[in-house]
């Protein structure tokens, strides 16, 4: 315990985040294996993990880099489709589900990362609301492209792809994988809660290591004051791109995890509303606070399915909207903020030094 106190507040908070995730897994996994969880919650474990990773990765863009992205679901879509295609194509070459999932996730992350690089070139030249609208535009473009994509595999195991028109050249023994607007209709569900848990840990490790490195400090300096950062010689584009592409790749892996846990996926699942949903998790969890993202994503994914909310039936989305507005009004009201800052000051006085933001 003494050792824990000697660590810097940021490192301590990072270790506690890992610990929290491991504890949650240690409690939930035996329950899930023993069938103690309700069927709805059981079915939600993999999507929750995917949304947690999505939220963490968006928090890297919004909280750490300080740029608003309204098209994060686009990266999820790229990861979901490329990963699911890879998993389907490798079905016979890699019979082991876990290994195939890992390979698919890497492929999903790489593809999403490549799209991230392509997008970041125009996006990172802009600032503020203009950057936000361009990410929104990219989200829509990715959705339109994926909706018109046809991918199949022929008898020899070669991939064929076509755009806008259905594939006709698959021949003997071939099969369709991605079917345009119908998406991928039959997915072998190989995602598991354990895989989701490992992906969350990897994501946390990537983000914490990035944030606590020289590059991470540069990224935060850019967030806090771009002009000052530029004037001390930081390469703005390089660091912005680093954060943006990392975020995209992690979202791609999350997309693969999500897709391979579903019986079927369609491109319209990853639309503007999904991007917004993830953004809501980030803001409610606290920008730049990774543990907040994990709690917000878990809680808000489960909340609409809890018995209490189910009782509200048709009213639950309305209640969700009201909760969202009230939380924003309350957390930003000057009266409440001064109330909390009083506690914070007292705590700081007891510690004898200014509390560092984690």
């Amino acid at each position: 315990m003494n050792k824990l106190k000697r660590l810097s507040p940021a490192t301590r908070s990072n270790y506690l985040t890992y610990l929290g995730v491991i504890l949650a897994f240690a409690i939930l996994q035996p329950m899930a294996a023993g069938g103690k969880l309700s069927p709805t919650l059981q079915g939600q474990l993999v999507p929750i993990c995917a949304y947690v990773v999505m939220t963490l990765s968006l928090n890297l863009t919004v909280g750490v880099l300080g740029e608003l992205s309204l098209g994060h679901a686009g990266f999820m879509s790229v990861g979901a489709f490329s990963g699911a295609v890879a998993a389907s194509a490798l079905q016979y070459s890699i019979p082991n589900g876990g290994l195939r999932l890992a390979v698919a996730m890497v492929i999903g992350a790489v593809f999403a990362g490549i799209v991230g690089v392509l997008i970041s070139v125009p996006v990172l030249r802009l600032n503020g609301d203009y950057l936000a609208i361009v990410t929104l535009a990219f989200g829509q473009i990715i959705k339109s492209i994926v909706e018109n994509l046809y991918v199949g595999v022929d008898g020899k195991g070669m991939l064929h792809a076509s755009f806008l028109k259905p594939l006709t050249s698959l021949g003997e023994g071939g099969r369709m994988i991605v079917n345009g607007p119908m998406g991928i209709p039959n997915i072998a569900e190989i995602s598991s809660f354990i895989a989701g848990f490992i992906l969350i840990l990897i994501t946390l490790a990537v983000i914490f290591n990035l944030v606590n490195s020289r590059a991470g400090r540069a990224i935060m300096a850019i967030r806090d004051n771009r002009i000052a950062a530029e004037s001390v010689g930081l390469n703005i584009t390089k660091y912005k791109m680093m954060a943006f592409v990392t975020s995209a790749a992690l979202a791609g892996a999350a997309g693969t995890l999500f897709a391979l846990g579903q019986p079927a996926i369609v491109a319209s699942k990853f639309d503007f509303n999904t991007s917004i949903l993830i953004l809501v998790y980030v803001v409610l969890g606290g920008q730049g606070k990774m543990w907040g993202s994990i709690i917000a994503a878990t809680f808000l994914t489960v909340l609409p399915e809890t018995p209490a909310m189910r009782g509200l039936a048709d009213y639950r989305m309305l209640v969700y909207a009201v909760v969202l507005i009230v939380v924003m009004l309350v957390t930003n009201s000057p009266a409440i903020q001064s109330f909390f800052s009083r506690f914070q000051k007292e705590a700081e006085r007891e510690n004898g030094k200014g509390g560092e933001q984690a």
Partner: protein, 294 residues
């Protein structure tokens, strides 16, 4: 040639509706510096009010439109007062999330009140289409009404912001709220008034949009909302002529992309053009180039 002209006219017709919505977006952005994501849903509410006025209560369509404008004006002011005013000093992301919350609220409220099934908006703009070029080119009444309403709204807004006391107060507030307040301008009233005008325009746009795309559901407003937002950015957000230009161009590009390239890629092309424009002119076509001060 006839096909080209027909598409151009359709594009201008759709673009006029986008322009009216974009005007609302741009005014609110100019003064409150916030992206009002609930604007699209105000369009939907306006369309529903007009729908019920015409088809359930059999009122005159003009009365229906006026009623929709009144309801939306009040709705806009209430939203501003309850949800946005307390956040005047808050970070912009908090305001954005609140706007999304309001948008969810309106969509789900509409679904509870009016059901999620499709409603067919009655065609109330009846009349013979204009025949041009020996009857080869037909311009429908809807198109004429869209363009006329758009031009009238545009002229009225230009006059309003340029000549009236309230309009000048709006321009002053959008430049510098603090200085405007020192000059004796009531900033709260001015912002409230901006939301009122923007929402009234949204009601008009909602009814016009419905006369071209008559299927009414609680999520009807989202897509024209996003498109009009794009149009506002396209023309330079905060600029009234920019909104008009952006709206018209977006409508024409959308129809041309659908007609000449592919209907499935229509939206993708619209957004791709937006990205190219922002790369060349980072603040939109008619937006002010703002120098960053250190």
């Amino acid at each position: 040639m006839v096909i080209f002209l027909t598409r151009l006219i359709n594009g201008i017709s759709l673009g006029s509706v986008y322009a009216i919505i974009a005007l609302g977006y741009t005014m609110v952005y100019g003064i409150a510096k916030m992206l009002n994501f609930a604007h699209g849903d105000v369009i939907m509410v306006g369309a529903y009010v007009c729908f019920f006025a015409i088809s359930t209560y059999h009122l005159n369509p003009v009365v229906g439109v006026l009623l929709a404008m009144v309801v939306c004006t009040l709705l806009g002011m209430v939203i501003e007062r309850l949800a946005y005013k307390p956040l005047r000093q808050a970070p912009s992301l908090a305001v954005l999330i609140t706007a999304i919350g309001v948008s969810y609220f309106l969509q789900n409220g509409a679904q509870l009140l009016w059901g999620s099934n499709n409603k067919m908006f009655p065609a109330f703009l009846k009349g013979d289409a204009l025949q041009l070029m020996d009857g080869q080119l037909r311009v429908s009444v809807t198109t004429v009404v869209n363009v006329v309403v758009c031009v009238v709204v545009m002229l009225a807004l230009t006059w309003f912001t340029g000549q009236t006391k309230m309009g000048k107060a709006m321009r002053a507030c959008s430049e510098d709220k603090g200085a405007a307040q020192l000059m004796g301008i009531n900033v709260d009233t001015t912002i409230s008034m901006t939301f009122a005008i923007g929402s009234a325009l949204a009601a008009v746009a909602g009814v016009l949009y419905m006369s071209s795309y008559p299927i009414l559901v609680p999520t009807t407003g989202s897509m024209p909302g996003i498109k009009a937002f794009t149009a506002a950015v396209f023309g330079g957000i905060g600029s009234i002529p920019g909104a008009l230009l952006g709206g018209l161009l977006l409508g024409v590009i959308e129809i041309f992309a659908g007609g000449y390239i592919s209907t499935q890629l229509q939206n993708a092309i619209v957004f791709a053009v937006l990205i190219v424009v922002l790369l060349v002119r980072p603040t939109g076509l008619l937006g002010k180039q703002i120098r960053e001060k250190v």
